[in-house]
Amino acid sequence: MDEWQFFQSQVFPSLMKGFKVSISLILPSAFLGVCIGIWAGSMRVYGSTWLRKLVDAYVAIFRGTPLVVQLFFWYFGLPHVGIYLSPFAASVVGFSLCSGAYQSEYVRGALLSIKKGQMLAAQALGFSKWQMLRSVILPQALRRALPGCGNEIIYLIKYSSLAYMVTCIEMTGEAKILASHYFKYTEVFLAVGAFYLVLVSLAGWFLHHLEGRLSIPGFEHHGK
């Protein structure tokens, strides 16, 4: 009964506080990550040579270095050149840019899978390259990229737990403080795990729903 008391009076309130911070990190980061990913993926396929190389370099750096290192750079590194980000801002910047790099890879793959005939038809009607990308290629490619992009959002939910490394106290941060204060690591982190599981399940349900909403004949799933 003691345990239940402890959970009700200590764990739950703290984790709820952290949960709100986590959500406020995840939502903008997921949104920005997808936007950056769509842009970066498109540039890597349709951009001019130098832009393509530039974006390739961005992806290489942000996929090639640990996220913790990136967060440290935004929070502890930038002050050296006079730029001060709050823990929250540093985290969102770090998550968005890292997520965008991964998202761009899903988008790029989907763009490359669109049949050449779709582009020929658009060009033959007088579409410019960007009109074609916006009206013909991306609407098809994003439907194909959605499962992968959703997967990346699920990852993001979990790596948002790294924000506490730059003192942005979200759910995992609250848990760590609580657990070390009462020395109850197992109980507290089991609870945290359950919270993340709920979050991820919600996101999974939402993404599945979205796939259904966007499904059109010829683009539906072949399973089931």
């Binding site: 005939g117 020929l120 009607l125 007088g126 579409f127 410019s128 010829g218 683009f219």
Partner: protein, 253 residues
Amino acid sequence: MENDPILRIEDIKKAYRAREILKGISLSISKGELKVLIGPSGGGKSTLLQCINFLVMPDGGDVWLEGRKVNPHRKRELYGYRQQVGMIFQDFNLFDHLSALQNVQIALLRVKGMDKKSARERAVAELERVGLGKHIDHYPAQLSGGQKQRVSIARALAMDPKVMLLDEPTSALDPELIGEVLAVIKNLVANGMTMIMATHQISFSSAFATEIIFMEDGLIVEQGPPSKILSSAECARTKEFCSKIYDLHGEGN
């Protein structure tokens, strides 16, 4: 004025690496004419049609539309030119994520900047014209090959093209679906559409073409009215090809 060519191409050349696909093709077409390109596969018919609207950039040669030379390296000019030249592909190339109606209206909205209401009206009218008034909300995956090709013709017509290029429009169709597409093309001929068409439909060509152009190895071997090309071709190779294609498709088609 009547005989001024709408479209004229001169000395179009294209090579992929060392392989010359087009070795200098010139032709011109006046209003209301139907010119049919025939010849063996790999002879350059498809590449020629794609060079005419610069989907494939020719290595050399010029294109004039209504007496104005087209500069394909100026993007605005190129996009404007392409809007006036309709293209029909062998494998339809409908936009897979759009319904028949959306396929026809998307270029009206995005390229021509028409308002939604008039674009929709125009698109519905064009789909009715090709006999698909009842299928406007169907997606490509829900249409037969013949229906898809008719949507693609409606899509091209909605742009009010001055010339249409048709690249073997019936080659990917089941035999029983060819008729419905040819009927639509016949209708275009009757309404005075100017067209260049690559096809193996020899009886259709003999009935409706102004001129048949026999192409092989990137060159025009022979050209003339159907009666001449099909019965009394001067070149032995043309004769041989025509007789083979007759055997295959029969005269009754």
